[in-house]
């Protein structure tokens, strides 16, 4: 009788746990020590409890491994950016700024977290293809001629060739591949127009130009935010998607002020925090 009752209790508890009701675990633990329970059943309860704690340990181990994997991928992302920056040092801080500008603009436009993750990867690596461009063109201090510009344009295809080789980076291809397209179809490399241009690329294009205009480059001085915005607004519908221009205009000054004085270490720190918040567990 005693053994049967104990067995019934054990069965109830184990079935609850097997069906995902972990509140029953404490009851199971009690049964391992309880003198109301037959010794045989107490031993059985202990065995179940041991199995359970092994499962929980394995689950946590898995979680830790996934976190490590993600951290490794994010390190590689930064590493790739650092690589290209060694050839074209101008672009290092630019990559960090445009990534953060893009995220803020995307948030304002209501893009979902998955799209923003793709945008982060694509924005940070948008010019990775430049690693294949010769110094004479890449580092030329003045305007490129027609031939040189044609070669410079190939950085898009080179970039796609690079990021396309990683399954983790595949979703960066939209920005890498289409960040030079224009809303009216006059851009490169494909000549896509309007909504055919992926949204992340439409979002990125505007911050890329904005940061270029408002930064010092070897071939030009920098512009003030108001001037840059005027140029951008004038290109609404031609270069840029109108809805993106509309979303960006009210944010531009604040974004510029928050990022522009930051030195590289501060930019790196700011971006790491932003990226971490998008790549952590909660999808």
């Amino acid at each position: 009788m005693y053994e049967d009752q104990s067995l019934d209790r054990l069965r109830t508890v184990v079935e609850l746990i097997a069906n995902g009701d972990y509140s029953a675990v404490s009851t199971l633990l009690e049964m391992t020590a309880n003198s109301d329970v037959s010794p045989n059943i107490a031993a059985l309860a202990e065995a179940f409890s041991l199995m359970l704690v092994q499962i929980e340990a394995r689950e946590w181990h898995q979680e830790l491994l996934i976190k490590q994997l993600l951290a490794a991928n994010l390190e590689m992302l930064e590493l790739l950016g650092a690589m290209v920056a060694k050839r074209d040092s101008d672009t290092s801080a630019h990559n960090y700024r445009v990534t953060m500008y893009s995220v803020r603009l995307a948030e304002a436009m209501g893009l979902d977290r998955a799209d923003i993750r793709s945008l982060i990867k694509g924005a940070f690596l948008h010019d990775i293809g430049k690693i294949a461009i010769p110094d004479s063109i890449l580092l030329k201090p003045n305007r490129l001629d027609e031939q040189e510009f044609a070669i410079m344009r190939t950085h898009v295809a080179h970039g796609l060739d690079i990021v396309g080789r990683s399954s983790w980076l595949k979703d960066a291809m939209d920005v890498v591949g289409y960040h030079h397209e224009k809303y009216d179809g006059s851009g490169y490399s494909t000549g896509l127009a309007g909504e055919a241009i992926p949204l992340t690329a439409r979002v990125f294009a505007i911050v890329d130009v904005f940061d270029a205009l408002t930064s010092l480059r070897p071939y030009k001085g920098s512009m003030r935010v108001e001037e840059a915005l005027t140029i951008i607004t004038e290109s609404s519908g031609t270069h840029f998607a109108p809805e993106v221009v509309a979303a960006f205009t009210p944010l531009a000054l604040t974004l510029y002020e928050s990022l522009h004085q930051l030195d590289e270490p501060a930019l790196i720190q700011a971006m790491r925090e932003l990226v971490a918040s998008y790549f952590e567990e909660t999808p």
């Binding site: 929980e56 340990a57 946590w60």
Partner: protein
């Protein structure tokens, strides 16, 4: 056989020595103590197992819970000087993959001081 845990707080962190049997009836207080310590960020705890005679599944669970909490609060949890039988239980349960377990107490102390 009962259970005892001697706790010593030093500049480098807490040192806890366990003795006796750690099971359902005796593990509650230890769990509470560990979780309380890890409530403070970057706390460090070294647990010496040399006098522990038996650990049940409930005892194991205490260390899983404590290790998770430590990770959350950037704390350090080091387990050392396990008798072979005890270490075996940890090994079979896969706990050696997720916990910092060091055989030699001096080495473990050195690691605690580095934390």
């Amino acid at each position: 056989m009962s259970f005892q845990s001697e706790m010593l707080q030093t500049e480098q962190g807490w040192q806890i020595a366990l003795s006796g049997r750690l099971d359902t009836t005796t593990c509650g207080e230890l769990e509470q103590s560990l979780l309380e310590i890890f409530e403070t960020a970057a706390s460090a705890i070294l647990i010496d197992f040399s006098a522990l005679e038996y650990i049940s599944s409930a005892g194991l669970r205490v260390f899983l819970v404590a290790a998770k909490r430590a990770k959350q609060s950037k704390g350090t949890l080091i387990l050392c000087a396990m008798p072979a039988a005890i270490k075996n239980v940890f090994a079979i349960s896969g706990f050696l993959k997720i916990l910092d377990v060091i055989d030699d107490r001096e080495l473990a102390l050195a690691q605690l001081n580095r934390a």
